[in-house]
C-alpha cells in the first residue's frame, strides 16, 4: 500500500495538497474518473483535500485506481499550467484569425485605441493645469 493511501472499507483515501494541485485540477481529474470510481471530496485541514475513491468495478484493485487518479491529477495540473502559459499567445492568434476574416475590424480597433489615448492625454492635461493653478 502506498504510504499516502489509506484503505477504509473498500475506499481509498488520499490527501491532496491544494498548493500542488489546485481545486480545478482535482475536480477535473475527479470528473474524468467518474466512470471508473465513486469520488468524494472532503477538506483535510486548511491546505489539503481528502479524495475518497471507490472503484465501480468490484473486481478492480482500489490501490491501482487510486494510483491512476494520481496520474490524472498530474495530467490536469500540466494542462492548466500550459493553458495559463499560452493564454496570451492563444489570444493573439484568435485576434489575427478574426481580423483576417474582417479587415474593417482592424481599422475600428485602431480608431478606438487612438480615441482612448486622446482621452487619456486630455485627462492628464486637465490634472496638470489643475496643479499649476494651485
Amino acid at each position: 500500500m502506498h504510504k499516502n493511501f489509506q484503505k477504509v472499507d473498500g475506499w481509498i483515501k488520499l490527501a491532496v495538497k491544494t498548493k500542488v494541485y489546485s481545486l480545478p485540477t482535482i475536480y477535473a481529474a475527479g470528473y474524468v474518473f467518474m466512470d471508473k470510481a465513486y469520488i468524494y471530496l472532503d477538506p483535510d485541514g486548511a491546505d489539503k483535500v481528502a479524495v475518497w475513491l471507490r472503484p465501480k468495478n468490484k473486481k478492480a484493485d482500489a490501490e491501482t485506481v487510486a494510483a491512476e487518479f494520481c496520474q490524472e491529477l498530474l495530467n490536469y495540473a500540466h494542462y492548466f499550467t500550459s493553458l495559463k502559459a499560452n493564454a496570451e499567445n492563444t489570444k493573439i492568434l484568435l485576434q489575427r484569425a478574426l481580423f483576417s476574416a474582417a479587415p474593417s475590424l482592424v481599422q475600428e480597433a485602431e480608431e478606438k485605441e487612438i480615441q482612448d489615448l486622446i482621452k487619456e492625454l486630455e485627462q492628464e492635461e486637465k490634472k496638470e493645469s489643475g496643479k499649476r493653478k494651485k
Binding site: 480545478p24 475527479g30 467518474m34 465513486y38 468524494y40 471530496l41 477538506p43
Partner: protein, 78 residues
C-alpha cells in the same frame, strides 16, 4: 460501508457533503436533477446532509457522482 460521510438512518441512507467543496450553485443544479425524488437537504454546520427514505447506499453514491458533476461545472463557470 463504514465511511464517515455515509450514514444509515431509520429510513434510508444519508450522505453529507462539505459546503466549501460542493458550492451552492452546484446544489441548485443537483436539486434540479433530483426534482422528482424525495431528497431532503439539511444544513449541518459546514456540511450539507442529503437524505431520502428510499435511498440505499448505492443511491447515495449515485448522488455523489451527480454532485461532483455539478460542482465541477459550477467551479468551471466561475
Amino acid at each position: 460501508m463504514s465511511v464517515p460521510f455515509l450514514k444509515k438512518n431509520k429510513g434510508g441512507y444519508s450522505i453529507k457533503f462539505p459546503r466549501s467543496l460542493y458550492p451552492a450553485s452546484a446544489l441548485l443544479q443537483l436539486k434540479d436533477l433530483y426534482a422528482d425524488s424525495d431528497m431532503i437537504v439539511k444544513e449541518k454546520g459546514r456540511y450539507l446532509e442529503l437524505s431520502s427514505s428510499s435511498w440505499t447506499a448505492e443511491d447515495c453514491l449515485a448522488v455523489c457522482d451527480s454532485f461532483l458533476y455539478c460542482a465541477k461545472h459550477a467551479v468551471q463557470a466561475k
